[in-house]
């Protein structure tokens, strides 16, 4: 299951499979809202006030949105399986993405602070997200779907190592 751009010889920890359910719920709700909004012209067209709208446009808009949303939902399990992280002696590696793959290394000595956040859906499944910040704004190191205990452990670990290794900016 190792993606080709990842560094060789490393075992990545995977995030909790429950993240699939969390994302399905969150994105499913989003998809529902978006599709409803996109269906408004269709409703107006069918009920009368917007007769002038061509029928094909009225139907294809919500359909296109719906298809895109379904595609996004279908991808979720694979996306979640692609997320991984590995703690090394000096840095933390994070990988993710299927079509657009990314692997990132964040040195402990460069970490400025660590955020742990829990959303309502995440909380229901006992998951949290950990975000690491360096002095660079382009460091976009987020790990979603960690079990709460693992997130707490990681936070403590990162803070402790960061303090020990911090050297200026």
């Amino acid at each position: 299951m190792r993606e080709p751009i990842d560094p060789v010889g490393l075992d990545f920890e995977r995030v909790s499979p429950k993240l699939v359910t969390v994302r399905l719920i969150e994105r499913g709700l989003g998809a529902l809202v978006l599709t409803t909004v996109a269906s408004l012209p269709l409703v107006l067209h069918l009920t009368g006030p917007w007769r002038g709208l061509p029928a094909w446009l009225a139907w294809s808009l919500p359909l296109a949105v719906l298809l895109a949303m379904i595609w996004r939902l279908v991808l979720i399990p694979r996306q979640v399986r692609a997320i991984g992280y590995a703690e090394r002696d000096d840095d933390l590696l994070i990988c993710g993405g299927i079509f657009f793959q990314r692997v990132m290394v964040v040195p402990y000595g460069r970490m400025q602070y660590v955020d742990v956040s829990v959303g309502p859906v995440e909380r229901a499944f006992g998951l949290s997200s950990v975000k690491m910040h360096t002095a660079s704004a382009s460091t976009n190191a987020v790990l979603e779907g960690l079990p709460a205990a693992e997130a707490a452990r990681l936070r403590e670990q990162l803070s402790a190592r960061g303090e020990a290794k911090l050297a200026g900016l």
């Binding site: 080709p4 751009i5 560094p7 060789v8 002696d89 000096d90 840095d91 079509f99 657009f100 793959q101 990314r102 692997v103 990132m104 290394v105 964040v106 040195p107 000595g109 460069r110 360096t134 002095a135 660079s136 704004a137 382009s138 460091t139 190191a141 290794k165 050297a167 200026g168 900016l169």
Partner: protein
């Protein structure tokens, strides 16, 4: 390390502005010793508001007033009576005076051994405190009006991506300089003799290069402004010929004004550009009307970018930018602050690089950096995109390359717009590899090195999978070992024991031979 170590060799050059003895300023006093900025400051800061009010008010009433006085107190019918005009004037003066006085009265600052503190605000009070050893850069800024009063603003930057941490506006120029020296001395970790705190003299400054006004003018003329002006002119002329309506000529007026203003701004900002070096870091002086002196202490430069536009290839000039954590992305009024060399020849670029990175980490820096500036292919150990990257980068694939020296990573880009980015291993924040679907098909990977906010975004495009992976893991390891042996925040303190790189990178190396000169 003794108090004066590092400044020893330059003692004779120390400025006279700081006589020995109980001089004023910043002595490491008791906690409650607060100082105020110069009383004229609010006026210098608020003069635009005053002038604006005078213009608006004056336009309506000045005529009335003159006329009324001229005619012996009788005002012209319909005009405001004299007493009203005068009382409004008096009220305005009083209001301004009170506001200015309060804002001056409530602005106080303090420099202790470890902190700079500024309290300001009348209704909304603000207390700011910054750690001196976290200083990223110090600017002494003199707007035109402040220069007339011989005042200066002191800006103390910490790593907050561009928001100015501490702004002391305005101080006497001499005091601003002394304060800067005191802050830098404390930040450098020099021991300050508690009995003689004023013995801190400004670190001697040695001018390294100065750009002539001709160079700045030439650089301005060959800049994007000219290209934009030509394109716009061509558009207008085209429209003129197309429609045949001479009314379109009116368009030229704002166009001329805008172009003139852009030229003027570019020229006056960079005019008199001088680069100097002192044990406290690189110091840049520039500006024609508003002048600015920037000090970047050693080790505060996060990344360097050298660029050359196609027009500048005619003259062989380069522009050098830096990322400094305190400067941020260089937007707004502070524009141009990230430029450490507005237009320099290749030799001058090397000189500046030598000041910023005294230790290039390679035996033959000139060759390597020249290959980075205008080289192509595998010359000097650069590793470039594979041949199959031609599909995505038909022209520049042999320019897209990297080279890691012992101390820094060089990233090279672009055929028309040449760019070279240099990041010291110590300053590596985080790294990432990226691959999109098309790149996956071709077996290519983008490498990005994250630096602090700034004009330089170090990247290497479309690398071969194997070399990208090697760069990624190699760079992570190099960054880790550089952090362990890195120089301390306080640059005058001894570096922690470790592999001895000190010879090249110690503070006094600024006075050594520049390794980038042949």
């Amino acid at each position: 390390m003794s108090a004066a170590k590092g400044y020893d060799d330059g003692g004779a050059v120390a400025p006279q502005s700081n006589p020995p003895g109980p001089a004023v300023g910043f002595r490491t006093g008791p906690e409650d010793q607060w100082r105020r900025v110069h009383p004229v400051s609010p006026l210098v800061r608020g003069w635009l508001a005053v002038v604006g009010l005078i213009v608006v008010f004056g336009r309506n009433s000045f005529d009335d007033l003159v006329q009324a006085i001229g005619t012996g107190g009788r005002h012209r019918p319909g005009g405001a009576p004299v007493w009203l005009i005068l009382s409004v004037l008096a009220a305005a003066v009083v209001i301004f005076a009170v506001v200015f006085f309060l804002s001056w009265f409530y602005t106080r600052y303090q420099v202790t051994d470890d902190h700079v503190r500024v309290n300001s605000g009348v209704i909304f009070r603000q207390q700011r405190q910054a750690r001196i050893d976290r200083v990223q850069a110090i600017d002494v800024v003199q707007p035109l009006l402040a220069r007339i009063f011989s005042l200066a603003e002191l800006k103390f930057e910490v790593a907050d991506a561009g928001k100015s941490a501490m702004k002391l506006s305005f101080l006497n120029l001499d005091e601003a300089k002394r304060l800067r020296a005191a802050i830098l001395a404390r930040a450098s970790g020099m021991r300050v003799d508690p009995d003689q705190p004023s013995a801190i003299s400004e670190a001697p400054e040695r001018e390294v290069l100065a750009l002539t006004p001709g160079r700045i003018a030439g650089a301005t003329l060959l800049s994007g402004i000219t290209v934009a002006a030509l394109v716009l002119t061509a558009l207008v002329v085209g429209a003129l010929l197309g429609t045949g309506s001479p009314a379109l000529l009116v368009v030229f007026i704002p166009l001329l004004l805008a172009v003139g203003a852009a030229y003027w701004k570019a020229f006056t900002t960079d005019c008199n550009f001088r680069v100097a070096v002192s044990p406290d870091g690189v110091r840049l002086h520039y500006g024609l009307l508003d002048t600015r002196a920037q000090t970047i202490p050693p080790g505060r430069v996060q990344a360097v970018g050298v660029t050359q536009s196609p027009l500048w290839r005619l003259t062989g000039w380069y522009r050098v930018h830096v990322n400094v954590a305190g400067y941020g992305a260089d937007h707004g009024d502070s524009g141009g602050r990230t430029v450490v060399l507005p237009a320099g020849t290749e030799a001058e670029v090397m000189t500046v690089l030598g000041l910023i990175f005294p230790d290039p980490g390679v035996a033959d820096p000139v060759r390597v950096f020249t290959a980075g500036l205008r080289g192509k292919g595998r010359d000097q150990g650069f590793i470039h995109s594979p041949r199959r990257a031609r599909l995505l980068d038909p022209f520049a694939w042999r320019r897209n390359a990297y080279r890691a020296t012992d101390t820094a990573l060089l990233c090279r880009h672009g055929l028309l717009f040449r760019r070279l980015q240099v990041v010291p291993h110590e300053r590596t924040q985080s790294l990432s590899l990226f691959q999109g679907p098309l790149m996956r098909r071709l077996g290519l990977v983008d490498f990005e090195l994250h630096s602090t906010a700034g004009p330089v975004r170090p990247m290497v495009h479309h690398l071969d999978l194997v070399s990208a992976r090697e760069l990624f893991t190699g760079q992570a390891a190099r960054a880790a070992s550089a952090r362990r042996t890195g120089r301390p925040e306080r640059w005058m303190e001894e570096r922690p024991a470790g592999p001895d790189l000190a010879g090249a990178a110690s503070p006094s190396s600024a006075d050594k031979d520049n390794q980038y000169e042949q």
